[in-house]
Point group: C2
Chain length 240, copies 2
Amino acid sequence: MTSAETKAKPPTPRERARTRTIADIVRLGREHLAVHGAAALSLRAVARDLGVVSSAVYRYVENRDELLTLLLIDAYNELGDEVDAAVDALPAEDFAGQFRALGNAVRWWALREPASYALLFGSPVPGYQAPGERTTGPGTRVILKLVSIFDAAYRAGALTAEVPPAVVLPPKLAEDMVNIRTQLGLAVPDASLARGVLVWTSVFGAISFEVFGQYGADTFAARDELFAHQLGVLQGVVGL
Amino acid sequence: MTSAETKAKPPTPRERARTRTIADIVRLGREHLAVHGAAALSLRAVARDLGVVSSAVYRYVENRDELLTLLLIDAYNELGDEVDAAVDALPAEDFAGQFRALGNAVRWWALREPASYALLFGSPVPGYQAPGERTTGPGTRVILKLVSIFDAAYRAGALTAEVPPAVVLPPKLAEDMVNIRTQLGLAVPDASLARGVLVWTSVFGAISFEVFGQYGADTFAARDELFAHQLGVLQGVVGL
DNA sequence: TGTACATCAGTGAACGCGCGTTCACTGATGTAC
DNA sequence: TGTACATCAGTGAACGCGCGTTCACTGATGTAC
């Protein structure tokens, strides 16, 4: 990718077939993921479902780890797309609504695709290390969106920061916040940013407990209401 | 277990050897877990480490799933013991301190035993269903401890409930809360209980992000301080 | 206390399985002249 | 437009591996009389 768009030509039939086959592999990989889990993801099984001999998939995918990487990126982007769509459907000044939309979008996607959610936010896959240069972009879309909501709300004066101004972060933590703010070009102050981190982890904590079955079979019957309530409280935590 | 303690006799040498071997199996299983993950947990590997032929472990463990169950129970109890010890070391009236001690105990254990933590709170192991009648007890120790802190604080008038009294939970959610309160014999009101659920999931959400590597390599250098801060904010959420 | 029998721990071979990956190959599709 | 060659997709056999689980067995440890 040194010289961008080397080819503007329309793709040849062969190229189109190749693209379609790769897409098929990713789709079948996701189905396999859903049934057997990431640790049991197998190139041979994907080849079988694809109706092809096992060695043939090596034309498209270097090895098992690369298939995992493709699935990771695919899932991150699907989640990112849904979150973006949900948030962007709301008026630019409705920050609280955007926050809730983000949380709900993540939750709905997670409940619909529990295996992909587990791949992204569950236990690490043993022996697999995601290649940062390919996954960091897609993998940070949700948190960047969340941060951008907080920041826009702050700039608009819509963050009713209930944080007591006397509250000072410990120096090392404040340093982290400064770095984040600088790197992302944010205006939101340290204390709110730190609370934003808690809100971020809390949203995913609530979703993980539900998706991973930590709530037990029937302790919580009103899961939609519970999550809505949790979002509401978290809203208050950052003063949205 | 129909007629309890059928034997009060001291254990025979054979029985002691058996108990020790089972303990060895669990210990080796945990090591294996740490290195290869739950999905790759293998009876054959445990047998190898035990210095015994693979079929021999079937004398002690019915099958692979039962070994997983043993590991699950063992981990839940180790975590439960550490949490209890940390909380009980504090004065009975120091509810906020107890809450922080609980959170810190969970986090320390999780960082020390990431594989066991992943087994308990990460992605479900595909194809494995924990037998509720054996795991529910150990598996609910931490949440019961947390709830007991909240309840004791409320009874002592130490819950400075910042919850606006006007806030009414949606009926279905309120029903869940009533059931929980009745079942556990609690005094703490609905709204605080619901906030307690958020605090519970949030503590584990923060820990999971750290243990599972969601924070990225160096965005957060001050992880102790970050978690302490998160506990502090969550304390405020329930009014502790 | 001594013998006869039952219980148990561990062996070793075998079953059938699925996995990742390599390699030499066939045949079809594309490209250059 | 027609031929000669290069590229690519997919085949099929093979490698070496580890897995869960069963089964008939040997030998040591315990128990009953």
